[in-house]
Symmetry: C3
Subunit: 161 residues, 3 copies
């Protein structure tokens, strides 16, 4: 039977939705908890989860996109039944009631378990998000598709979420 | 050339949408038809496909979520162009006209081909869905992320849908 | 360290959304640029990207679906914040401003890099799209799930997008 600690997992988190982020981070934390090295490549809407603050400056169009994109894991919405934020609010209520973990909790746990975060360079450039606007985490790096591919080639499990 | 019967496939079906479920089940049935052992891990909205009935009881919030989530593969909607149910109705009409298979047909075929179903324990707990509310199928088990990871490590093909 | 040119990548592009297509094609082009053979299996809404024109004939229902589905990579919308086409328009403006590449540009590059395109036979049949309505590209073939599975079994990286 394969031993998790001898294999890597690499996830692309393209989605910035609460429900998909929960799924991705639950899988990542499960694997990391079993000693498996895990890489998450955050791209496009997935960048939302890594955002910590907005700094000044930037193009008008960039400002518009950055206003639309949620600022951090506590602000993200559902992929379905979002109902202008009522869906995530209800879901978080249900999670709290059952002593479960929200996307923000799971992200924190992933950092405690030293999951490697890679923020997609092209997405940051496109959306005008700067590295200093992202979470302050020692295992977070900014890199491109070649870095992801190298990690994926070394991994036993690769998924696009 | 690799022989399918010597390799496993593991799918995570996160989506509860008609179109994505059709894709997942078509791939699963194709693989199982070629003698490949297939595992489907149903999580979050994907749980909809396994639901057979509602039993009494549960929190108000749980009842709300269970009312929003479709009850079984015959009730699920499209990921796009759902138009309040008109999209799936038209698509099913088109499928019937061409002697194709709906998501419900494909799910039945997957069971005939003994595809292994794993219902995500954390999703059931969160949404308040009980095991007795799921399809009655001998190859359906309730398990957590560790079970999925073990299956994924044994698999040649792993996808998140 | 694994060498990309000795491994294959197979992607299923189920989505017909601008943002997901950009992600899929960026990964495909990155891999192909490193000498990796890449297969993209276009299914369901993903067929939109391969469509070049409509020919006459077909059922009323087919015509309806073909009218709803975008005709080619220049016409596709966003998975989120589409705002009736304003979202993709703004995003394309931003991409042009930064000398980036749109989904249509990336599709063209994939063809230059000889990425193999497989159009899902069942999706074409279901939607009434004929082979002569697809892009004229020597590495495009129409095939079914068995062909995809064979490619996936030969691949190191497999993703559903």
């Amino acid at each position: 039977m394969p031993r998790p600690e001898s294999e890597q997992m690499s996830l692309i988190l393209f989605s910035g939705d609460f429900d998909k982020a929960m799924a991705a981070l639950t899988i990542a934390n499960g694997a990391a908890g079993n000693g498996m090295p895990v890489n998450i490549f955050f791209t496009f809407w997935g960048i939302s989860l890594l955002r910590r603050k907005n700094t000044d400056g930037g193009l008008l169009l960039e400002k518009l996109f950055k206003r639309i994109m949620p600022l951090g894991a506590a602000k993200i919405g559902l992929s379905k039944y979002n109902f202008g934020g009522a869906g995530p609010w209800l879901l978080k209520k249900l999670i709290r009631h059952k002593n479960g973990q929200t996307a923000a909790d799971l992200l924190k746990m992933a950092m405690e378990r030293q999951v490697r975060f890679i923020a997609c360079e092209a997405s940051l450039k496109l959306l005008g998000v700067k590295k200093e606007e992202l979470l302050d985490y020692e295992h977070l790096e900014v890199a491109g598709v070649d870095t992801f591919l190298q990690k994926a080639l070394e991994s036993k499990i690769v998924m696009f979420i």
